[in-house]
């Protein structure tokens, strides 16, 4: 095994001792939600395929919204999408040096969390 990592780098891998600032939480959340969204691609392609294949399979897909576990998957996917969406827009703004100072960066990270919670609640309210 060839690796370019330092052998003597400090290891602070006690997850209970690592305390990320909110900007760090938004950042790792962007990565985690991205991985989740990639894994869910086949599910959404399958549903798109079904919805266009025949009248009957279109009905089957429409009726999935009555299925509890499908709703759970849909809500989690929507949450992942909303986090990825708002955190991604924040990163695009950071590229333009908008919100790069420490105080503004912390505020922007809080706004990302607030927006994703609001949109998640809106969708849950709409589904119920």
């Amino acid at each position: 095994m060839r690796t370019s990592f330092q052998k003597d780098r400090p290891k602070y891998l006690d997850l209970l001792r690592i305390k990320l600032p909110i900007t760090g939480i938004v950042s790792i959340g962007h990565r985690a939600s991205g991985i989740f969204l990639v894994l869910s691609i086949p599910v959404w392609l399958y549903l798109l395929d079904m919805s266009l294949s025949s009248e009957q399979s279109y009905q089957d897909v429409s009726e999935l919204t009555n299925d509890f576990w499908f709703l759970v998957l849909a809500v989690i996917s929507f949450w992942a999408l909303m986090h990825h969406f708002f955190a991604g827009i924040r990163f695009l703004l950071l590229d333009l040096d908008i919100g790069i100072e420490k105080q503004k960066a912390l505020l922007a990270a809080k706004i990302v969390i607030a927006l994703e919670i609001i949109s998640l609640l809106a969708v849950v309210g709409w589904l119920i």
């Binding site: 060839r2 990565r31 991985i35 392609l45 279109y58 590229d95």
Partner: protein, 113 residues
Amino acid sequence: MSWRAGGIRPWIVQRLSALVMVAVLLTFMATMMLAAPSNFQEWQDFLAGGVWNTVLIIFWLSLFAHAWIGMRDVFMDYIAHDALRFVTLGSFAFFIIAMIIWMFKIMIMAETL
């Protein structure tokens, strides 16, 4: 920075594909709120040919480019073992190519209905 893999080109593709997806998502959501297709026939007509068939293909291609670069970065960050990283990247490339073929099958089928 190199213009090839690992350099500035994937960085730019990642941001351009993000902007394309934001634009399509917002337009799609607005369209669904204003005039959502309410049955099978209207849904088929909505995606058969016309603007939305093309727009959705562009959306999917942006998504696959975005997913490839994002996951490539994740694998390169966390998999230090060369052979394992190579196999993982190869398997993921196979997955993305399969998804692209499936997507084209769906979108072309929708167009010729």
